[in-house]
Amino acid sequence: MQRYSGFGLLKHSLSHHENWQRVWRNPTPKKKYDVIIVGGGGHGLATAYYLAKEFGVTNVAVIEKGYLGGGNTARNTTIVRSNYLWDEAAHLYEHAMKLWEGLSQDLNYNVMFSQRGVLNLGHTLQDMRDIQRRVNANRLNGIDGEVLDAKQVSEIVPILDCSENARFPVMGASWQPRAGVARHDAVAWGFARGADMHGVDLIQQTEVVDFIIEDGTVVGVKTDRYGEIKADRVGCVVAGHSGVMAAKAGFQLPLESHPLQALVSEPIKPILDTVVMSNHVHGYASQSDKGDLVIGAGIDSYTGYGQRGSYPTIEHTVQAIVEMFPIFSRVRMNRQWGGIVDTCPDACPIISETPVKNLFFNCGWGTGGFKATPGSGNVFAASLAKGEMHELAKPFSMFRFHNGALIDEHGAAGVAH
């Protein structure tokens, strides 16, 4: 297998880059696998990677109806942070953060994880109470965080309007220095390459049209291209389509799939080198390495599988950005797009056993999926390998919506995470 390095680039440049190997194979599926993962997005690929690399389960297939990393992984605004309020969520996201911190080296693929820090602004007294509460919880959970006042905020982001005449003046912020952004496509490709290297079969352009369930236990899947493929365990990681897949398996989930829109400006010279989020003014922005301002806000109110939302959502988002950064008024918006996010009533994911034996779901990440990619894949892989849920995953059982043990992260999720 080929390792990537600057030296490798030089070597290949001498042969006109004609000898680069495939990043992953294009295999025909076997009749049976130990584990089938439905969904080749970031989380599914990470799950496959860790199954093979960390838990020694290499007889694994990832079945993707489109192309790898083509869903929300390709459509999000790439923010990575772990400053969540409740212990359960904080531990899960911090587990992911620690994996992020060595990911490029672990994968030998530069996912461009850039720890430029995240500011969550506070504009009201209640915002500041919530920020204090969350940061104090983070510190006691071993997660870096500080509460900043308006002056400190404007020192970090001088172009932010921290003046008194803002409609909702900035009163302060929470600051997580270790947070940042990553290159979304590279994350999917890096995990895919890593999984493939460890023997995982990545089956693209193949849709799982049904589960094969025998007296309450899943034993495989039906696909449109290759018919039946057997498996001891099946992990379903299909984000926005989780409800649809659950219906095929005969149960419902506490999920609604909503459009989540985002937009980018034209590329401009570096001017914003951290991530700024505001729940109250309702928008967030960062600047990519290409120079685009990457901007987002909340989900559209209605359910939708159209990968597009309504224009007023874009308007409100842009209003918020102009309110926070008045100097961007003359900068121009280049593109907008939408993803399909499966949202839970408590703004926390579902990593869970299901009413069907050996069928596991990892979904409900809402707007917060990207930042959790390695952690989600890692704990889901552990659960699939053992057939029982990983400690960090247990609190995220779908059955918490029956017994009432919800983990309400709306505050920390805020404008969309």
Binding site: H241, G243, Q252, S257, T303, G304, S310, P312, H402
Partner: protein
């Protein structure tokens, strides 16, 4: 942005005037106290979330403040019909789940 016909105002209005309230026809159990935790959880949280035909509850928040139902395709976003509370939809999904 949706263009929604309000069955009470009897004309089309912009989405900005309306609020979405999720899946329609979720009746509150008549005897909550006799519900199991599972039944109550299902009532509160578990949803069909279909890809395709969806019956959903909206209210004309900035208009007549009346609630009503909408049958909408969640992929194409076409609104197939609107109907008042207490009425039943005429357009329903075909038995086969959308693939």
């Amino acid at each position: 942005m949706f263009h929604i016909y309000c069955p009470h105002c009897s004309e089309y209005r912009e989405e900005e005037e309306f609020h979405y309230h999720g899946q329609a026809h979720i009746a509150r159990p008549l005897d909550p106290d006799s519900c199991t935790d599972e039944e109550w959880g299902n009532y509160m949280f578990f949803r069909k979330n279909p890809k395709g035909i969806h019956h959903e509850l909206w209210d004309h928040a900035a208009g007549c403040r009346k609630f009503f139902n909408v049958t909408r395709n969640t992929v194409t976003y076409e609104i197939k019909e609107v109907y008042k509370i207490g009425e039943q939809p005429k357009v329903v999904a075909d038995a086969v789940p959308s693939k």
